[in-house]
């Protein structure tokens, strides 16, 4: 069924058991992003150690796609150099814009490739990007 390309088992797993959910006490910065068209919200705490992403924690309310994506994003980017985090983040955005034509680079995106099917559902792309945009905003602010 077409729906299964959207709701991959990996996504549903992350939705049911999200990683790094629950805001850390310490933080370099906190950002809050929302999706005004559907009301989904993500608050994200970021700790950088020089150029390295030391910790990401987040909390939020939203659909399975937005919550699972924030979970995958945080797990994938913790411990990465800022520059490679940006490369991964750009690759994820590109995958979301692929209209179903790309299956994504599994080496780079790991569980993130499960979201490839989301790119066929235009209304859901912003859901998948919510957490990633929050990270991008937070890290850019800290690095700058």
């Amino acid at each position: 069924m077409e729906l299964d390309s959207l709701y991959q088992e990996v996504i549903l797993d992350h939705y049911r058991k999200p990683l790094h959910k629950g805001l850390s006490a310490a933080k370099d910065i906190q950002v809050h992003h929302n999706n005004p068209s559907c009301g989904d919200e993500v608050t994200l705490n970021l700790i950088m150690d020089g150029q390295v992403v030391k910790d990401i924690s987040w909390d939020g309310v939203g659909c399975s796609i937005s919550m699972a994506s924030a979970s995958v994003m945080s797990d994938l980017l913790i411990g990465k150099e800022y520059k490679s985090a940006m490369v991964i983040s750009d690759a994820f955005v590109e995958l979301m814009q692929s209209k179903g034509k790309s299956s994504g680079d599994e080496q780079l995106l790991e569980d993130g490739v499960a979201f490839a099917g989301v790119s066929k559902f235009p209304a859901r792309i912003k859901c998948a990007l919510l957490g990633w945009m929050a990270f991008k905003d937070a890290s850019t602010q800290v690095i700058a």
Partner: protein, 415 residues
Amino acid sequence: MSVDLSKYKKDFPVLARKVRGGNRLIYLDSGATSQKPESVIKAESDFYRTINSAVHRGAHLLAEEASEAYEGARENLAKFLGAKTDEVIFTKSATESLNMIAYSLGNPDSRFNVKSGDEIVVSQMEHHANLIPWQQLAKRTGAKLVWFSITDDGRLDLSNIDQIINKRTKIVAITHQSNVFGTIILLQEIVKAAHKVGAVVVLDACQSAPHFAIDVKKLDVDFLAFSGHKTLGPTGIGILWGKSEILEKIEPALFGGSMVDSVTMESATWAKAPRKFEAGVPNMAQAVGLSAAIDYLNVIGMKNIAEHEQELTRQLLDGLSEISGVNVIGPKDMKDRGGVVSFTVDGVHPHDVGQVLDQYGIAVRTGHHCAWPLMKRLNLVGTTRASFHLYNDSEDVNDLLAGIKKVKEYFKVGK
């Protein structure tokens, strides 16, 4: 016995198409916009094919015919509302209607001149379109925005009406039917209280006028707004109705061609209402299309449409009450409620509910329904909403109920 409107379904071309999964389209999102019958599509395109020209200008036959069609549409809309023809103003949307009136009522030249110390009353269940224009008017003028709360079962809480509407009240802007709950607001008490203190009542009829008969004289409100596209008509056309004695006294919000009496380099005077409020070349084909929609509704009869939608709503409420983990948000009985039903499914986000339903061809609305403050009041991120019009039938309701069970299976929640 319920009314049978099944023969009208075939009049709506879009309902014949197939959607995702090869399924028939089960359109349950008329609260957002209604579908259009062939006669409306034809009336709008016929305008362009046969008489397209700018109304109220030009000395040629087409201009004459276009003006007749446009003014004929106005007459038709006036009858639909039980109003005088000159009280009906065409706008581009109900949102524009509400913004225009908010602006005009804040104008220092009018006796309604809203100023610091005055109060504007709304309710907690307003659509953003009947909230933000009043927030902005309050902000511009220093007036205070106050509001009626809601009860837990999705009704308006009028227990403190004497405090809410008081001698400082200048405007009461209220919805006729909640776009989230389907609650129909009984206006009598509110109108009486408002008029007693000299305030005007602005009614957001977006969810009522398309579904049951309206008579502005009986309602005794002062202004009313609704949209063409929710009333089987085209997009790009809205209605603002106002009592003529008030329209006479307020300043327009939009200025330009067509709305003037005389113009010099320094100043201008205005034409009489409704022209005063219709600056620029109006959305003529859309007005004519809306008029065709009103003709269509009149043939079926608003009373029959209302009864039909009541029947479907009852069936849906009954069905939802039998599915565990499904919660109706808003009135659970049929008392003073229309054909809009919001619900949540435990453990599944509304957006995901809508996505699974879409797979079965079922089109519903999900999210906060442009009523964000209301969602916060209810501690909800959003709801899934099914809303009816005359072309829906009992099979649509059954398919929705079956679809909700599939949502629960897909996300493995409940039994």
